[in-house]
């Protein structure tokens, strides 16, 4: 669709909204005279970010690493589970409710349990991240593996294809575009999962990410730092999501056709 194509408007219009929002924000702060610890202005936030740039970069990188690790585990695990589900309706019917369990269980409620088992640190954060980002991979890949074109299936059967050949030459390549859709959803969730995981488990000296930084900023009533942490989290989410989209377009182009 032409609307999806890259054009100057796709860059300029959102930037314009950003600039207008920042100006309005600054004006409101100056007119209202709000204290910076209640609501700092954009200038104050920018200053804080600049002052803490090295620490913020470190926190963001650590969160990014656990988010990407959890996401990668989700992709591998999700594809393996989906392959199993696609092979038999009995397996699918037996296992699918548990896949839904992962989607519906409140991650905030389960995080302390994960820490009780895995301890404080990066491992627990990765487990929480995996739990939150696994489900979209399973649902979309399973759908793709099952939604095989009947005509193509006839073609394979006519040529006496084995079940293995049908899986690897027809079902799996056909499911790649579904997998990519699931990966895009999971990529965003992985960052959310990593930060939630860090709220609970990221206190150990070995792993201090953005979740930890946000908690500390809250305790110090440093609202400008809270904004800085939020902005870094959002940017991290955008980077992970965009990377998945771009890498998908680069390496999976053949399997992600349109029309």
């Amino acid at each position: 669709m032409s609307e999806d194509r890259f054009s100057w408007r796709t860059i300029v219009l959102p930037l314009l909204v950003l600039v207008v929002t920042i100006i309005l924000w600054e004006v409101i702060i100056r007119v209202s005279g709000l204290e910076p610890y209640i609501l700092p202005g954009p200038g104050e936030v920018a200053r804080t970010m600049w002052q803490k740039k090295e620490a913020l970069l470190g926190y963001t990188l650590r969160t990014g690493m656990v988010a990407v690790s959890g996401f990668a585990i989700s992709v591998v695990l999700g594809v393996v589970v989906s392959l199993l589900f696609s092979q038999s309706a009995i397996i699918r019917q037996s296992g699918y409710p548990y896949a839904i369990f992962f989607q519906t269980v409140p991650i905030v409620a389960v995080a302390p349990l994960v820490i009780a088992i895995c301890g404080y640190g990066a491992l627990s954060v990765i487990v929480v991240t995996t739990m939150i980002s696994l489900f979209p991979i399973i649902t979309s890949t399973t759908t793709g593996l099952i939604a095989v074109d009947r005509g193509l299936l006839d073609l394979f059967r006519l040529n006496k294809a084995s079940r293995w050949q049908i899986l690897w030459k027809l079902q799996f390549p056909g499911a790649i575009r579904y997998l990519l859709t699931g990966m895009k959803t999971s990529a965003g969730l992985a960052v959310v999962g990593a930060i939630v995981g860090e709220f609970f488990a990221g206190h150990s000296s070995g792993h201090q990410g953005l979740g930890y930084f946000i908690l500390v900023s809250q305790n110090q009533i440093s609202t400008a730092s809270l904004f800085a942490g939020t902005i870094c989290s959002t940017l991290l989410g955008v980077v992970v999501f965009t990377s998945v989209t771009v890498l998908g377009r680069l390496f999976l182009r053949r399997w992600v056709w349109e029309g």
Binding site: D149, G151, L158, N159, K160, W257
Partner: protein
């Protein structure tokens, strides 16, 4: 010698309804036979039973001195794999049989050239090809296994008349060279008459053969045959049988 034999065939999808019922039908090796009939009369089901994709509920379909693996099927939809290039689509049946040899690779290229595709089209994906070109790739894919029975299920139904005529002529030329036993399903009577040596007219509910007509035109057939008054007369005969069938 018969290449395909049907004996007391019955196909049911539910216990109450018989879709196709054929007592006896023999198709000699190398013959080009067309099946015409109203929608739902079981023409495609008959083809699928010959291919071994569907099994008859009763009776048997036999292919003499050959296995089902030597059957090739051309579908109504070109049925190409979207993530494979034209060349890779044609290669698929050979790939499913085992590693593709250098000689087979030459056969693949020859098959694509024989159906009238150019070298630059080999690496194109189906979405980059026109409807007619996709059908040609589908035909090349059927040819590449060097079948002795070619089953075609309304392969040109979605194409415009001009393209359909062109592909009919090309198919006939290929059949003339390869001498496949061909079973061609179509709704288009002039197409059936132009291509076939024999036309089987079918009736629905249950699907059965009500007329077995020999087409009285010599091969090789030229495009001008379509303008011949005898051609039009024979088409009229087939249509009358078909209309009779429909009106019953």
């Amino acid at each position: 010698m018969s290449a395909i034999q049907f004996r007391d065939i019955e196909k049911q999808f539910t216990p109450e309804s018989v879709v196709v019922a054929i007592d006896r039908l023999e198709i000699p090796a190398g013959q080009f036979v067309s099946l015409v009939g109203p929608s739902g009369c079981g023409k495609s089901t008959l083809l699928r039973m010959v291919a071994g994709v569907d099994d008859p509920s009763r009776g048997e379909v036999t292919l003499s001195d050959s296995e089902h693996s030597q059957c090739a099927f051309v579908f109504q939809d070109a049925n190409l794999i979207p993530w494979r290039t034209a060349q890779e689509n044609v290669r698929l049946p050979l790939e499913l049989r085992g590693p593709v040899t250098a000689e087979q690779r030459r056969t693949i290229d020859q098959a694509i050239e024989m159906v009238g595709l150019r070298k630059e089209d080999f690496r194109k994906f189906p979405r980059m090809l026109s409807g007619g070109m996709r059908m040609r790739v589908s035909l090349a894919r059927a040819m590449v296994t060097q079948p002795n029975v070619l089953l075609l299920d309304e392969p040109f139904a979605a194409l415009d008349d001009l393209l359909r005529n062109q592909l009919n002529e090309q198919l006939l030329e290929l059949w003339y060279q390869q001498n496949w036993t061909s079973l061609f399903v179509t709704h288009n009577v002039p197409e059936a008459v132009f291509l076939s040596q024999r036309i089987l007219v079918m009736h629905a509910r249950p699907g059965r053969i009500v007329a077995d007509l020999e087409v009285p035109f010599e091969y090789p057939r030229k495009p001008l045959l379509r303008n011949d008054p005898d051609f039009a007369r024979f088409c009229g005969e087939v249509i009358a049988k078909l209309a009779g069938v429909t009106l019953v």
